[in-house]
């Protein structure tokens, strides 16, 4: 390693642009910050050696340097932004109907572009491996770029000496010379102190500095981003994050998904309330809407905890935990979990009551029976000697190639084949009953079964949430904001004063808000006979 010894005696690491101690431009390294083509010095990182740009020997160094580059970081962000944008052109897979095959859906709905979209994997963009790797690379780039810049900058600001090289002074953006023997240094220092500058002195050379901590703003900000990313990463760990869904029918008890069979929920009642149409206040809005407007979705539920070791499938022994209601934004909370009201289905058939009557006279009634659609019996005995056998039951009836079948286990369109046994030894009469269908199998039945009434129940859909990542993400956001504020509302300002045989030189530097720096210099030189320095950058343009 070639160290660079400056004429001031300080030894700088390889790659240094400006001496860490006196600021003298190091010969042969000026191209690194582009100083060779400029009149003024580029004060980025105070001309310190960024390690990334100096060591490039092993593979590890090469990878490190790749991620350290701001240029690479910017490109990674640009690529991610473009990809994220493309992901919003067509709906993501989770937003297309779950019943369709995505392979054909995108082509059918959006044509050839949709097909390309699907085949390139944009339909599942935000969880695709390459998108995640892009985000991860941004994260790595943030970490490495910060490490590579923070430590050298911290060191150089710590090592800086008030005594600066002439070339450094001359090449500052704010610079001025004064030829006078009456310069009042004591007054100058007092003026600076009044403006809360910290003063460092060395052989009559003065460095006045304030708000150095503003320079750490971007790094604090990056730490916040990293904490945020780690929080997002922890969402993959079930111990930190669970997002599941559970459907429960009124009167039924179901396992709460995502809890490893630990918790059960019983749906006592699902309530859907709408705004009163007769209320003067809502009348107009309801008419505009053209239908009732929901006011409240609510599930009254009982939460149970399983006693003992869970074996999936085995009848659980349950212990009541609590009875509570889940409403919009008011979840039922138990253990580490919260159940949010998220969806519902109204009026699923629960019970149907039939009566036996004469085929030609609906007013006769030979008895009634009620079928529980969740568990129909095979046979119903009526008081007066009539007997009905359930030959077949189709919860969701459909005709398939002339054969009656059921397409699901849910009683959405129930249909039955009944055999009616009249009292005595009479032959059974078979008929088919469904919604809007009542078919006499033989054609010469004497009796007929008719639907008298039915009972419905609702199904509630609840989101099961466990989220310990939110505090981490919030912490990351807070740190991020602190970093932004730190770097935004404070500016790092430095003023150098160099005694000359007859008079002084003065130079100033800030990372932003040059106008304010010049105003502060103006105030500092009041009554000191120091001439106001000029902004060499403005003069040039």
């Amino acid at each position: 390693m070639n160290e660079i010894k400056c004429e001031c005696g300080h030894i700088n690491p390889e790659g240094t642009v400006l001496c860490q101690s006196c600021g003298k431009p190091v010969e042969g390294n000026q191209h690194i910050d582009g100083n060779d083509e400029q009149q003024l010095l580029n004060m980025r990182y105070d001309g310190t050696a960024r390690r990334s740009q100096t060591y490039n020997r092993t593979v590890v160094d090469k990878i490190w340097n790749f991620f350290s580059s701001v240029k690479v970081g910017v490109w990674l962000i640009v690529i991610t932004v473009i990809a994220s944008g493309i992901g919003t052109i067509f709906p993501q897979e989770m937003y297309i109907p779950s019943t369709v095959d995505p392979a054909t859906h995108y082509r059918d709905q959006f044509g050839i572009l949709g097909q390309i979209y699907y085949q390139l994997g944009f339909h599942n963009l935000y969880s695709s491996w390459w998108y995640m790797i892009l985000i991860a690379m941004i994260g790595i780039s943030i970490v490495i770029a910060s490490i590579d810049r923070f430590f050298p900058l911290y060191k150089v600001l710590k090592k800086q000496k008030p005594k600066r090289h002439e070339a450094f002074m001359k090449k500052q953006r704010v610079f001025g010379t004064t030829e006078s023997s009456e310069v009042d240094i004591t007054r100058f220092k007092q003026n600076l102190k009044n403006q809360r500058f910290k003063i460092f002195e060395q052989d009559g050379h003065i460095l006045a500095e304030k708000n150095r901590f503003a320079r750490w703003g971007p790094y604090v900000n990056h730490i916040g981003l990293i904490v945020f990313l780690i929080g997002a990463l922890l969402r993959f760990v079930p111990a930190f994050y669970i997002d599941e869904f559970v459907w429960v029918r009124e009167g039924e008890t179901a396992v709460v998904s995502g809890t490893d069979g630990q918790y059960y929920i019983e749906n006592k009642d699902f309530i859907l309330e709408t705004y009163d149409e007769n209320d003067e206040r809502f009348k107009e809005a309801i008419q505009k809407q053209g239908g009732p407007i929901p006011k409240n979705f609510q599930t009254d539920a009982v939460i149970y905890k399983r006693v003992g070791e869970p074996i999936p499938g085995a009848e659980p022994e349950l212990e009541k935990v609590k009875e509570d209601s889940a409403k919009m934004n008011q979840p039922i909370k138990f253990g580490q979990f919260a159940l949010y009201q998220a969806s519902y289905q109204l009026n699923e058939f629960k019970e149907m009551t039939f009566k036996i009557h004469d085929k030609d006279n609906e007013d006769t009634n030979y008895g009634e029976f009620t079928v529980d659609l969740t568990d129909p019996e095979t046979e119903y005995e009526l008081d007066n000697g009539y007997r009905v056998e359930v030959e077949n039951y189709f919860p969701e009836y459909e005709l398939n190639d002339g054969e009656p079948t059921s397409v699901s286990k849910f009683p959405k369109n129930p249909a039955f084949v009944f055999s009616l046994y009249p009292p005595g030894d009479a032959q059974p009469e078979t008929s088919f009953l469904g919604i809007g269908a009542n078919i006499d199998a033989s054609g010469d039945n004497q009796y007929k079964l008719g639907l008298v009434s039915f009972d419905v129940r609702d199904v509630t859909g609840l989101t099961v949430k466990k989220d310990y990542t939110l505090p981490i993400i919030a912490l990351g956001g807070a740190i991020f904001m602190i970093g932004v504020i730190q770097g935004m509302y404070w500016n790092h300002r430095r003023i150098w004063l160099q005694p000359k045989s007859n008079g002084v030189w003065i130079a100033g530097h800030t990372n932003k808000n040059w106008f304010a720096l010049r105003r502060e210099i103006g105030k500092s030189i009041e009554g000191t006979h120091i001439e106001e320095p000029v902004d060499q950058h403005e003069m040039k343009s």
Binding site: V60, M132, I311, E396, K409
Partner: protein, 182 residues
């Protein structure tokens, strides 16, 4: 001077390598976790998770653990599933032959009502044991998507094969042979 420079360089290399390894580890973890979430099948070669279910119309409970040493075919089905109806007769045909050789067929039914299952079993004259999974817990445990899905478990309790869709007679026999104890 030389000595300290060398040390510094070495320290730097160690630090950089450690940072890169940690970050690469996090990335691998994230990508792996997200891909695993998409995968709706239980992996071949893994141990089949234990469960306990009741036999249909019978209070006799069956646990997978209790069948260790036997080959087990788990068939997830329902009466409303058309392809299930096609493969049921094949299972019926091969059941008694393979039962003698130490293979158990367990048909896990996912229907809601007993009556439809009863009618079905009568119509198809099913001889092998049918288990009821009304809550769908075992179905969730095995990440079953579309039915029918069959899982073949060897006498050591490892999953040998998972098959989605109806089986043909010859395929079924092939899989059953794979899990027959020696």
């Amino acid at each position: 001077m030389k000595e300290s420079t060398f040390k510094k360089k070495r320290k730097r290399l160690v630090f950089r390598t450690a940072m890169l390894v940690v970050m690469a580890g996090l990335v691998v973890f994230a990508v792996f976790s997200s891909l695993k979430g998409d995968d709706a099948v239980i992996a071949k070669g893994e141990d089949a998770p234990n469960f306990q279910l009741n036999k249909f119309k019978n209070d006799e409970t069956v646990t997978l653990k209790g069948l260790e040493g036997k080959g087990v075919m788990l068939n997830f089905w329902a009466t409303y599933c058309e392809p299930c109806k096609d493969e049921m007769p094949y299972m019926n045909e091969l059941y008694s032959k393979y039962k003698e050789q130490g293979v158990e067929i367990l048909a896990v039914n996912l229907d809601a009502t007993d009556i439809v299952v009863e009618k079905f079993l009568k119509e198809y004259e099913i001889t092998f044991p049918v288990l009821r999974d009304k809550q769908g817990q075992v179905m969730d445990l095995y990440n079953i998507g579309p039915i029918p899905t069959s899982i073949f478990i060897n006498p050591e309790g490892e999953i040998v094969e998972q098959v989605q869709g109806a089986l043909t007679l010859s395929k079924l026999e092939g899989y059953l042979q794979q899990i027959t104890p020696e």
